[in-house]
Amino acid sequence: MLAARVNDLICLSRFFSRNTFEKIEKKECGLPHLFYYQVNEPSSSYPPNNGTPINCGELHLPNTEVYLVKELLAGNQKIFEKVFSDLYPLMHSVACSIAGNAIADEIIQEAWVSAIKALPKFEGRSSLKSWLVRIVANEAKTRRRKESRSVSLESMQESWATDPRFDERSHWVNPSSQWHGDTPEELLSAQELEDCLKKNIDKLPENQQVALQMRDAGGLSMEEICNILDVSPSNIRVLLHRARDKVLQVIDHFQQTGEC
């Protein structure tokens, strides 16, 4: 109870502190979080002067999000542009993995039109980011049915059990090679590898792709992904392991042969 009160006070004091929003970087699972806000020109209405700030406790949102939602509702174009650009890679990945690259941008457009319309009803039960990703995922699923893209949601039957990398006791018999390059930048300096990864990710079963994009590309939490996809955490973990293992094998093959 006391902790909750203290939390409320911190929440409010931060809301009134202009500097809080000037430079905030969140890290999640060692990956850079998509939201990196650098708001140098707070709108004239900020900080609020009517004495009735948004109740952080009810909205369950971090201060940055309370601020963002408020500014979006107030029609702050710069904030919209920022949120749109920050979330574009994640929304694009999710749309692509569900409905294909050809209609991904149309899906994003439709999703944003719905989101802008629905924004006044945004209740903050999830983060703004996962709310938007859910809208884009739903839109993509609807479009996928319309375009009748023949991808099976349950196409997960793979040869994990008969993987030639392991012997009969499940120990490495064919382990990965030593890679040249210790950073993602070094690896992606080879354009061929970038193209090869895109091609192979595109070939992954849809559910693996979506999980990989949401988690590793977009940095959504496991809880958020489970809620959006309505899948159990253990299923998501299996999907993630298979997708990551495939990516690792693609990179390893490229490192060994220089070919896709």
């Binding site: 749109f84 802008i116 392991f166 890679w179 210790d182 994009q213 590309a217 496991m222 990516v247």
Partner: protein, 88 residues
């Protein structure tokens, strides 16, 4: 009972999403301390994950799409404001 390399490969991925704890963690660490192939797999798994993240961040929105949505956002905001300002 120590996990096999195949089980370690799975656990290394799981550990990125939900930390493995207790005896399972101890056994995982023990296996890793003895198995250079799995240690390398772990490092490469992390690097692969970061590479996917970087790859995603390379995609940029089409300027036309961006402009159209900003336009739509602005129009709707103006509309909303004028509706709010209407006397009840």
């Amino acid at each position: 009972m120590l996990p096999s390399c195949r089980q370690v490969a799975v656990q290394l991925s799981e550990d990125r999403d939900e930390k493995i704890t207790g005896f399972k963690r101890f056994a995982l660490k023990l296996h890793l301390s003895m198995c250079r192939h799995c240690r390398r797999y772990g490092k490469q798994l992390e690097l692969s994950t970061k590479t996917i993240n970087l790859l995603a961040h390379k995609s940029r929105p089409d300027p036309q799409l961006k402009a159209a949505l900003i336009d739509h956002f602005t129009q709707l905001s103006v509309q909303r404001k004028s509706e709010d300002e209407k006397p009840q």
